[in-house]
């Protein structure tokens, strides 16, 4: 029996140390501030800049069409006194059609911009969700709340706030540092 005492004691000690750390970490209720993560995540800035570039190009297309149309309208107003009745009718119809087309195009562009915005935001949210999920699993948390400032977490002690730690890891992963 004496021979088994030493190894048994070591095993028991290891189990007790392991369970102490496991139970301690998993019993904590912790949270992350989602808005802070979104603002502080480096990819958000990159994705936002790409989106703004794209939106600017799309809006510029609409603006240049609009300017063309306005110039055409000015020319028409200048020259209308010289035009015959038939010519006036035709020009008015032409300008009306063009305006309608530009409006349709503008609506389509606005829709496309909204879609691009949604895609960009979702990409960042996916990254944050994935990282928090992995982090929670690795650290042995049973639950990590996401505070969005809309009252879902009214009070939490500062020690329960994992935002800075998660943000640091998230940015490190994005930079390819780990």
């Amino acid at each position: 029996m004496n021979k088994l005492i030493f190894p048994t004691a070591i095993v028991a000690l290891l189990i007790s140390i392991g369970s102490f750390f496991y139970l301690q970490s998993s019993s904590n209720q912790v949270y992350v501030d989602v808005n802070k993560l979104l603002d502080g995540y480096k990819r958000t800035k990159i994705v936002r800049a790409q989106f703004e570039d794209k939106a600017k190009t799309l809006n510029a297309n609409v603006d240049s069409l609009m300017v063309d149309w306005q110039n055409e309208l000015k020319t028409y107003e200048k020259e209308r006194s010289k035009m015959t009745k038939k010519e006036l009718e035709l020009k008015q119809e032409l300008l009306g059609n063009k305006q309608q087309q530009i409006n349709n195009y503008q609506q389509a562009i606005q829709k496309q911009i909204q879609e691009e915005d949604q895609k960009a935001t979702q990409t960042v949210i996916n990254d944050i969700n994935d990282y928090v999920k992995d982090y929670g699993k690795k650290q042995g948390y049973q639950i990590i709340f996401g505070a969005s400032g809309s009252g879902n977490i009214m009070y939490a002690d500062d020690s329960a706030d994992l935002t800075d730690e998660v943000l640091e890891g998230l940015n490190a992963e994005f930079n390819g540092e780990k």
């Binding site: 004496n2 021979k3 005492i5 030493f6 190894p7 070591i10 879609e115 949604q118 895609k119 960009a120 935001t121 979702q122 990409t123 960042v124 949210i125 996916n126 990254d127 994935d130 992995d134 992963e173 390819g176 780990k178």
Partner: protein, 228 residues
């Protein structure tokens, strides 16, 4: 037994328990080392597929984003070898020529890594649910058949991208429950020296954003095999 004789030297009694404890710990360590790095071998394709489809083994991962289900499964080399061998080769009629062929096929297929990507909405193929009109349908067919190389990327943790070797998209014309395609990437040892590979799928117009799967490289280096 009161004491041990080692090279004609007598070990004192009080040292006995320490020596035995060391031997015990060494045995446990040997056992752990032998079995922790051992890759699994399966008798047939069905068993291997069952193993692969068990999410706890890590070879398949699922994600659902905005109603779109994504599933990524790694296809080990032996599944492709078995597919090429077909049903003609069974355990009973193995010959030296067959063994040679198996070796040849393993060499051929192990140069690449194969991933099956499935995407579905409401348990249906994307083409059956996502497009709202003919134009969108045409654009999506084009995207799936020819443009996925621009949408799917595999890169290391340090952002080193693996070049896509090829991908296959078999059209199922609504008969399948998911749009499934196979992606092939070269198996470069230097790209597998980090913990994970990242597999990303850019937004295909379904408002999912970029979807990322992390694939642990130890699973790729130590993949399950078939017993031929």
């Amino acid at each position: 037994m009161q004491s041990l004789m080692v090279k004609n030297k007598r070990i004192p009694k009080f040292m006995m328990s320490v020596v035995e404890a060391k031997v015990g710990i060494s045995l446990v360590l040997c056992f752990v080392l032998c079995f922790s790095c051992n890759n699994s071998t399966f008798k047939n394709e069905t068993e291997l597929l069952t193993f692969l489809k068990d999410e706890t083994n890590g070879y398949i991962q699922h994600k659902t984003i905005n109603g779109v289900d994504f599933s990524l499964m790694y296809r080990p080399t032996d599944l492709l070898v078995n597919q090429e061998l077909g049903t003609s080769t069974t355990l009973s009629n193995r010959s030296d020529a067959t063994k040679e062929r198996i070796k040849h096929l393993r060499d051929k297929y192990s140069k690449y890594m194969y991933f099956n990507l499935s995407m579905s909405m409401n348990n249906q193929e994307l083409l059956s649910t996502a497009p709202k009109n003919r134009n969108e349908f045409g654009a999506m067919v084009n995207q799936l058949a020819f443009g996925m190389g621009d949408k799917v990327h595999v890169f290391t943790q340090s952002k080193d991208t693996l070049e896509l070797a090829d991908y296959v998209y078999p059209r199922m014309y609504g008969m399948s429950r998911a749009t499934t395609m196979m992606f092939v990437y070269p198996r470069d040892a230097d790209k597998l020296d980090q913990d994970n590979l990242n597999f990303t799928i850019a937004d295909l117009g379904l408002y999912t954003g970029e979807v990322k799967f992390k694939i642990p490289t130890k699973l790729l280096k130590n993949e399950p095999t078939l017993k031929f």
